[in-house]
């Protein structure tokens, strides 16, 4: 049945959206900071991978071994030396500084790489698929993306619930002052949160670049999908974010099937519907 395929594709797309969203969610959870440039960093990672692939002539997925650690470092430095200075009560500075960063990153990429669309070539991976019955086809690439999302979320859960750092993240998220009373170095912990966030962004960026054409201007739309996934899923819940991504992906998929011009709109409308009916999201963390 065609609809089953549409739903499957949408759900798999949700994996990519979850990857976009998880980093955003982590930063907000630990320090109540939303990085407006988040989507632009995803695109930055894609271009970074492009350069690495061109220079070293390696497979895009392999480029992650360089891009992810590099973005981790970028995230740490960004938070430690820039964004930490915007934190402290007033909502305007973090918002406006990250907004400024968004414009800077987009236009720097435009200057360096021009507005031409690019794509990372991943060979057979891009089109290979597994046939599941007569009407369902599970593409290798979407499948890998979805599996990656699950692995990333599992690893993040492990970090948050089984390590001292994760404890520090959760404690700081609960009560930053009291966390300091127990030895948590806020500035460092915040920087680590952003570092991890951008490492995940790197993964998302590379996968995005293999999957679709990209150019410097597509960042804001990725931010919006990440944000919609978080809100639909519910604040404070990582698995909820995956659910949110899936719902968003399915909504877009269904919209596209009805009329190609309705794809994005369907996603937005699904998001607004959830916002109106269940403002706290569909699976919010109960302890809030």
């Amino acid at each position: 049945m065609e609809w089953a395929n549409i739903l499957l594709q949408g759900a798999l797309l949700g994996g990519l959206y979850a990857l976009f969203a998880v980093g955003l969610s982590l930063m907000f959870g630990v320090m109540r900071l939303v990085n407006i440039a988040h989507g632009d960093f995803i695109v930055l990672a894609a271009y970074f991978a492009l350069v690495v692939v061109q220079v070293l002539d390696i497979h895009p997925l392999l480029s992650l071994t360089i891009v992810a650690p590099a973005m981790f470092l970028v995230g740490y430095l960004l938070q430690r030396f820039l964004l930490n200075h915007t934190l402290g009560g007033d909502i305007l500075p973090p918002l406006l500084v990250t907004f400024g960063l968004s414009v800077i990153v987009q236009n720097l990429l435009l200057e360096v790489f021009s507005a031409d669309t690019r794509r990372l070539q991943a060979g057979a991976l891009e089109t290979a698929s597994l046939k599941l019955g007569d009407h369902l086809a599970l593409g290798w690439l979407p499948g890998i993306v979805f599996a990656t999302a699950i692995v990333v979320i599992l690893l993040l859960e492990l970090l948050l619930y089984r390590t001292a750092l994760g404890r520090a993240f959760r404690a700081t998220s609960d009560d930053a002052d009291t966390a300091r009373l127990y030895g948590v170095h806020n500035r460092h912990v915040f920087a680590l949160a952003t570092a991890i966030s951008l490492a995940i962004v790197a993964i998302a960026g590379v996968l995005l670049a293999i999957r679709t054409n990209f150019d410097p201007s597509i960042g804001p739309a990725r931010l919006i999908y990440a944000f919609e996934s978080v809100i639909i899923g519910g604040l404070g819940s990582i698995w909820g974010t995956l659910a949110g991504g899936i719902i968003l992906g399915v909504a877009q998929s269904v919209g596209a099937a009805l009329d190609p011009g309705w794809e994005i709109l369907a996603g937005h409308l699904a998001f607004l519907l959830v916002l109106v009916i269940r403002p706290r999201g569909l699976f919010p963390r109960l302890a809030d």
């Binding site: 820039l82 305007l92 960063l101 800077i104 809100i231 937005h268």
Partner: protein, 343 residues
């Protein structure tokens, strides 16, 4: 019954000087068409509507704490409302202009119901989503040009004046009115009791609520005023451009990015700030027009640096060193001594 021991004063010597200076500037602008070039007139038109948008955004973000990156929604809605009212309903253009602003504010009301469910940065992104929704919806409306947009019919263009010179003149004064009008609207609103409530909210929401300010209603009022201004601007802009399309009408770059930079660099939280910011912005644009993306990179970097080092913007710096205030929205208490003199 003796007189109360204090008197509430509004203006100061500095503000009176500043007001005189501004009045002079306005007088100059009013006479510009008779001695200036058409390029200068176009510049003033652009300055006027960016000033209006900046005042509105400042009211939202600087006073009400509502950082919206989706005001392009109302610019676009105002533009499309004008086209719809004149082309589809055949209303007279000047009336349609006014109604376009009202229409934008009217749509802002149910929109507020949705976006106010979120706060801070999530509120901001949600306003962006809403703008995108309007853009995508209007791209589906074929009577208004669909995805490619439509041109303003000649008959309506003519209604603004028979010759290009006449039309430019009408548009000039319309935009000037909107620009100055927005400044005055914000100024008088802030001086009112509603405005006092808003300033209280800006300083401390919790404190404001504790003295009985209805935060929600005040913020809603601000959101509607900002939409009204944006709608009026949208209507006029697309009359001037003679053509509207979803991408142009709801462009984040044109209607939000520049406005935010203007307000941040000029100074958030004051009426003078956006005025200065607009001047700085257009000066920079004139100087750096040839540098494409670098111009935006510089703007972005300047905004970041300003937010980190001088969050009050250019006007904030001025205020720190000289206690100036051109637009007296403060109320100063003058104490009376026993002898009846003012202290």
């Amino acid at each position: 019954m003796s007189a109360p021991p204090f008197r509430v004063e509004r203006s100061t010597k500095a503000s009176r000087i500043g007001a005189a200076f501004l009045a002079l500037a306005v007088a100059v602008l009013l006479t510009l068409p008779s001695w200036g070039t058409s390029a200068q007139m176009r510049l003033v038109i652009e300055v006027s509507y960016y000033l209006a948008l900046a005042q509105a955004w400042n009211l939202l973000a600087g006073y009400a704490g509502l950082v919206s990156v989706g005001q392009q929604a109302y610019v676009g809605l105002g533009g499309y409302a004008f086209f719809a009212l004149t082309v589809l309903l055949q209303l007279p253009p000047l009336l349609a202009l006014l109604l376009a602003g009202v229409a934008a504010a009217a749509i802002a009301l149910p929109t507020a119901f949705i976006v106010f469910r979120l706060r801070g940065a999530y509120f901001a992104i949600c306003t962006w989503v809403v703008a995108e929704v309007f853009r995508l919806l209007l791209a589906q409306v074929t009577p208004l040009g669909g995805g490619t947009g439509m041109s303003l019919p000649v008959s309506i263009v003519r209604a603004f004046g028979d010759s290009k010179v006449a039309r430019d003149l009408v548009l000039y004064y319309l935009c000037l009115t909107i620009g100055i009008g927005a400044v005055l609207l914000v100024f008088f609103w802030l001086r009112s009791r509603q405005g006092l409530a808003l300033t209280a909210i800006r300083d401390s929401e919790a404190a404001a609520a504790s003295v009985g300010v209805d935060n929600r209603r005040t913020k809603l009022a601000v959101y509607l005023i900002a939409a009204l201004i944006a709608g009026l601007v949208g209507a006029v802009v697309f009359v001037q451009k003679l053509r509207i399309s979803p991408d142009a009408a709801f462009s984040v770059g044109d209607w939000t990015v520049y406005v935010i930079f203007i307000t941040v660099i000029g100074g958030i939280g004051s009426i003078e700030g956006p005025i200065i910011g607009t001047v700085v912005f257009f000066t920079l644009r004139a100087l750096l027009a040839d540098y494409g993306a670098w111009y935006l990179i510089l703007l972005g970097a300047t905004a970041v640096i300003v937010m980190l080092l001088a969050p009050g913007g250019a006007w904030g710096l001025v205020q720190r060193h000289l206690d100036l205030q051109v637009f007296p929205v403060q109320r100063r208490i003058q104490l009376r001594t026993a002898a009846g003199d003012d202290v």
